[in-house]
């Protein structure tokens, strides 16, 4: 479904160039859960951004169902991201001034009738275990776990093929982390393709494949539970 071929990426820094990714090869099949682990600053988020069409690699191709996404125009790539990709972030990235419900419908805000979107959003929020009384609330008034569940609902609003999650449990306590992991497992069972970047091995182990990113190189990780 998604294949990354020979991906390299480096950044300019004061002392020269920092090579973050070196000739990365990765293939993710439909319905697979792939976890990418690695120490801080190893380039996990960079890899996620490249895979989701947000950041141009210096070299290499990212293909989604045989379409090289970096050969698409900016506009086409945005549309592709909206329709095929869902994002979940460590810091939730909810708009502070929109209600919970409005945050969820935000990705398709300009594309679909609002009442249909709201209906769908409510269903998703129920699915995520968010109480209806919180729908009109501002994100600031929610707990961390609630915020992340709202963020997952937003990621799912367009019914994407792939869910990219960048440290989704990094800001959560143990209980909320477990809750989110359960949700991911449900989504995985329902057939969602998942790419999860995490430090947390307890999250990573639910994946079909775990990759470790060290010194810019990606390698299959051995998992001991």
């Amino acid at each position: 479904m998604i294949s990354l071929k020979n991906i390299s990426k480096s950044f300019h820094i004061q002392s020269g160039r920092l090579e973050v990714l070196k000739n990365i090869q990765l293939a993710i099949s439909k319905g697979e859960w792939v976890s990418i682990v690695g120490p801080s600053g190893s380039g996990k988020s960079t890899l996620l951004h490249i895979a989701s069409g947000l950041l141009h690699p210096d070299s290499g191709d990212v293909c989604f169902n045989d379409t090289n996404i970096y050969q698409l125009t900016e506009r086409q790539r945005s549309n592709w991201r909206r329709n095929h990709i869902g994002f979940v972030f460590q810091d939730f990235k909810l708009l502070p001034y929109y209600s919970v419900l409005d945050n969820v419908i935000l990705p398709l805000y300009y594309d679909h009738p609002k009442h249909e979107l709201r209906k769908k959003a409510k269903k998703l929020l129920h699915m995520m275990g968010i109480d209806e009384s919180l729908f009109s609330r501002l994100p600031e008034s929610l707990s961390g776990g609630e915020k992340q569940r709202v963020a997952i609902a937003r990621a799912l609003i367009a019914n994407p093929d792939v869910l990219f999650c960048d440290e989704p449990t990094g800001n959560l306590d143990h209980e909320n982390r477990n809750h989110i992991v359960q949700l991911f497992c449900q989504l995985h069972i329902q057939g969602k393709t998942m790419v999860v970047v995490t430090h947390d091995m307890e999250v990573a182990v639910h994946a079909n494949h775990i990759y470790r990113l060290v010194n810019g190189m990606l390698a299959r990780a051995e998992v001991r539970i």
Binding site: R75, L95, Y98, P107, R137
Partner: protein
């Protein structure tokens, strides 16, 4: 503390530099803008003090002498007195003159249109028989008008000096055999009576010749033969240009004198003009059929030689060039004159229109009435005109900015639509008011017009050197006194020329300079008001902008404050750190600004303004950072305009800045444009505009620059605060177009309200300032456009940065 504050400033160096530049702009440009505005106003005041006073201060006229058009337009017709009927006696004038507040009281009485003695132009004696066909013309600048019927002289030969054989159909004058001289046509010129002493003081022209006795022997003979009528002594204006042309056709004929002597029944020794008129007419008729050997037609300009009351005798050379001649024929019949009614204007409220009263050549725009008695009709003539000297206007001392209506010596410029300069004709009914062609005494005025001959008195107030507020008060005091005496009084000091468009039948649209009263006062008030307004707006703007800037900074620091609080910093310490940072920035900005001001030779008041602004900044920083922050947080989302309400702490100050920026720009543009346009209608205003354009342009640029930096700073702060939000939009798949659309809608929502408020505030202020609706619309329109462009370009550039 200083070290940690400095480190923060250094680590955010681009933000610090930008803020520093903004403060430097405020501390330098506001003093500069204010100073330039002040300089412009001072220049205006000085110009008005220097040039606002004409040659006199008050124009006093008889009761009810103000015309309808003057009342309607608050103007005084230029040189209108040519048509007045008097109304003030010499004793009344003397009473006004004796007032200690009056330095000069110069009376003027229009007597009508008079003719001086007519003299001749002599045709040349050529080798061959020649027919001279001639006609005199005058001109109004556009068209030539004949002054007599075409006449002819046929010259045959000169058998000996003193005998020229010629015949002519001109029987209206005395003819002589020694020369072929024809009298110039009758022309009429405005004669005005003055008091030589006061007029001399007012105009610095020497009129003392009017007091001298005449000793012209020819005149004495004429006076004796007419029973010694009074003599009206006249000083002639040397500066006049009187349009007079001679159209001359010269035909060389193949004729023989003996044949025509025979035809006339004369002997060889007899002069041809001794024949009977019938025979002369028959001979002239025959001559019409005589073969012409050669012919030429020419137009000879006699304008340079023409003088109103004591004409120049001329002779044409063999080459038909005019020159002065000592031999001439003269006609002393000067006791007939004309009085003309005033011009009758119609549609005075729209375009004043003047119609022809009598269609003729040239047409007459006034009703003409013949007065006096001709010498040829009676021995009992009322007076005789005698020129006793000349005068010339002293042009070097003339103030061309301030208008003095009844500047009776100046030729008024009137321009037709096609650009032709119109000139007064020699006809009393001329549309163009003619200047005084000659002056005489008040005694002569009493003789001609009766007991109340004076039409106006021009008063110069004593003890005034400059046209300032004190002078205005003194002038007003004397004016009130004269008004109580029943006269029509106009305060002429501070008036200026304004170009008027008139519609004149037979000519079309004509532009004339009329005297607009109270121009200096209006100019002073307009520009003083503009200066006060600019100062208030600049101060308001600076104050508001500084406060808004600190609110932005407070918002930026909120997260850092929270963090410092978490790690154990006391609230007072956090506050002190924040205040110290702003103090350091503003103090550096002040030092740099003072250096710049020094480099630009700033005045002490400019330094003072900069320091006061800095002190205000310190106070604003202290007050803003001391205030308690609201801790109450909202739980539920806003249903409408959620993002605007959420960021209200940033957007409301931004709206204030936008509203104030638009108000400042709109008021500045509209008030400047309106003041400039109002000023430019008069010559004094134009002069002031020319002298102050640079300063005003500078202030306008300062205003625009301050607006731009304040708006760009506001947008930058708003975007920095929401940077993550825009990144998120991209991540969830919004295209650039959608982000732009979203931002546009949001920005439009708050900026439209701010702009509307700015437009309403500026419109109200401008209405209260009596600025014309045209300039209010232009000002607000340009301000909205400029603000929209600035805001649009700022948001656009920020979006480009974000998408990168």
């Amino acid at each position: 503390m200083i070290s940690i504050t400095w480190k923060r400033l250094y680590s955010r160096k681009w933000i610090s530099i930008t803020t520093l530049l903004a403060f430097i702009s405020i501390y330098t440009l506001i003093p500069f803008g204010w100073d330039k505005s002040k300089t412009a106003t001072t220049t205006i005041q000085k110009s008005i003090e220097q040039y606002g006073r004409g040659s006199y201060d008050l124009l006093v006229r008889p009761p009810s002498s103000r015309t309808t058009i003057e009342r309607a337009l608050h103007m005084v017709e230029e040189n209108y007195i040519g048509d007045s009927k008097g109304g003030i006696s010499i004793s009344e004038w003397k009473k006004i003159k004796e007032d200690p507040d009056v330095e000069i009281a110069a009376p003027v009485a229009s007597l009508g249109y008079f003719r001086g003695k007519k003299v001749s132009i002599e045709f040349p004696v050529l080798n061959r028989p020649t027919r001279f066909t001639y006609q005199f013309y005058t001109s109004d600048g556009r068209k030539k008008y004949p002054l007599n019927k075409e006449k002819s002289i046929v010259y045959f030969e000169r058998p000996h000096p003193g005998m020229i054989q010629y015949i002519t159909n001109n029987r209206e004058q005395q003819l002589f055999s020694s020369s072929m001289s024809v009298l110039m046509p009758e022309n009429y010129y405005l004669l005005v009576a003055i008091d030589p002493d006061s007029e001399g003081k007012l105009t610095r022209i020497d009129f003392s010749a009017l007091k001298k006795k005449t000793n012209n022997p020819i005149l004495q003979d004429i006076l004796k033969s007419y029973g010694n009528p009074p003599v009206v002594k006249v000083l002639q204006n040397r500066d006049l240009h009187i349009p007079l042309y001679l159209k001359l056709t010269v035909d060389q004929l193949d004729v023989k004198l003996p044949d025509y002597l025979t035809m006339l029944g004369l002997r060889e020794s007899q002069w041809m003009m001794e024949a009977s008129p019938e025979k002369i007419d028959a001979a002239l008729s025959t001559l019409q059929k005589a073969p012409i050997q050669s012919s030429q037609t020419m137009e000879i300009n006699l304008s340079h030689f023409q003088k109103p009351f004591d004409g120049s005798a001329l002779a044409l050379s063999d080459q038909f060039v005019p020159m002065l001649s000592e031999r001439f024929v003269a006609d002393h019949n000067t006791s007939v004159y004309y009085v003309a009614s005033k011009l009758q204007y119609e549609h005075v409220q729209s375009v004043p229109t003047v119609n022809i009263v009598h269609h003729g050549e040239p047409p007459s725009y006034k009703k003409i009435e013949k007065k006096g008695v001709s010498m040829q009709e009676s021995q009992d003539i009322p007076f005789l005109i005698e020129q006793v000297g000349t005068f010339s206007q002293n042009t070097s001392s003339r103030n061309r900015l301030a208008a003095s209506p009844l500047g009776i010596y100046g030729e008024m410029k009137a321009i037709a639509e096609d650009g032709t300069i119109l000139t007064p004709t020699t006809h009393p009914g001329s549309f163009i008011p003619s200047p005084a062609s000659g002056v005489t005494t008040l005694d002569a005025a009493e003789l001609i017009k009766g007991k109340k001959p004076i039409d106006a008195i021009r008063i110069k107030i004593a003890g005034i050197t400059n046209y300032n507020e004190a002078a205005r008060e003194k002038i007003k005091k004397v004016a009130t006194k004269l008004l109580k005496m029943g006269y029509e009084v106009d305060v002429v000091a501070g008036s200026s020329f304004k170009e008027m468009t008139l519609r004149v039948e037979g000519i079309g649209n004509v532009k004339e300079s009329w005297t607009t009263l109270g121009v200096a006062q209006t100019l002073t008030e307009t520009w003083n008001g503009f200066y006060i307004l600019t100062t208030i707006l600049l101060i308001l703007f600076a104050g508001f902008w500084l406060v808004v800037r600190f609110i932005f900074e407070q918002n930026t620091l909120a997260r850092e404050n929270e963090l410092l609080s978490i790690i154990g910093w006391e609230k007072e310490k956090i506050r002190w750190r924040n205040i110290l940072e702003q103090y350091m920035l503003t103090s550096i900005a002040l030092i740099v600004s003072l250096f710049f001001l020094y480099q630009w030779d700033a005045t002490p008041s400019m330094y003072a303004v900069a320091v006061l602004l800095w002190i205000f900044t310190l106070a604003a920083v202290a007050l803003l950072w001391m205030r308690r922050e609201k801790t109450r947080k909202r739980i539920h989302a806003y249903k409408q305009l959620a993002s605007i309400f959420y960021y209200k702490q940033l957007i409301i100050p931004m709206m204030f800045v936008l509203c104030l920026a638009l108000t400042l720009l709109a008021i500045h543009i509209a008030a400047l444009g309106d003041a400039w346009q109002r000023s430019s209608t008069t010559s004094m205003g134009n002069y002031i505009n020319d002298r102050t354009n640079f300063f005003r342009l500078f202030v306008a640029i300062v205003v625009f620059y301050l607006n731009t930096i304040s708006l760009s700073e506001g947008v930058a702060s708003l975007f920095n605060e929401r940077k993550q939000e825009f990144v998120m939009y991209r991540m969830i798949g919004w295209t650039k177009g959608k982000i732009v659309k979203f931002l546009f809608m949001e920005t439009f929502a708050w900026s439209a309200w701010a702009s509307l408020a700015g437009a309403v505030i500026s419109g109200t202020i401008l209405c209260m300032l009596n600025v014309s609706m045209k300039w209010i619309c232009i000002g607000i329109g340009i301000a909205v456009l400029m603000v929209a462009i600035t805001l649009g370009s700022m948001i656009g550039s920020r979006l480009v940065q974000l998408s990168e």
